[in-house]
Symmetry: C2
Subunit: 100 residues, 2 copies
């Protein structure tokens, strides 16, 4: 998978197919806040995403408090958003059951 | 378990037995940053703590990026730090294998 940084135009196009995700103001990361019914659901989501992330060798920055999970994705090596981030975001939406 | 807010004196005494934990400046929470070898170790720690937290019905606020896990514990109902936070912090230190 390419590690080339995506242009804002390409990111915006990708985000149109990624409900809930937005481009950070500095353009270097995408983020989304997920809400669940309770902690158990939220952590179940995190566990599924952790396995995907480990398999991709591409990991999120994320914050959890009770039923909320705030995620930021960026590719440090590329200094911005790459296809890896888009792919992980897509997998996270699927894991949250709201990906369509 | 009591939900009474602990005094600063009691918290400081408890923290002396909790390596790595510090009282937040406003006195209303305790926090610690944990470091691991990699994401897998960090998330394994989080999974173990999640089970403890769920069993206690007392949940952390935490942020993870790769091998780092930053934890904040507070008891919202009490508006500060209670025995529940101390107990969860102790369990987290044990889970991280650095509790003694």
């Amino acid at each position: 998978m390419s590690l080339d940084k995506l242009s804002s135009e390409v990111i915006e196009r990708e985000l149109s197919g990624l409900p809930g995700w937005t481009l950070r103001e500095d353009g270097a990361a995408i983020s989304r806040s997920f809400r669940f019914r309770n902690f158990s659901q939220a952590f179940g989501f995190m566990a599924e995403c952790a396995l995907v992330a480990e398999r991709m060798n591409h990991h999120p920055e994320w914050f959890n408090v009770y039923s909320r999970v705030d995620v930021t994705l960026t590719t440090h090596d590329a200094g911005g958003v790459t296809e890896k981030d888009v792919k992980l975001a897509r997998a996270m939406n699927r894991a949250a059951g709201r990906g369509d």
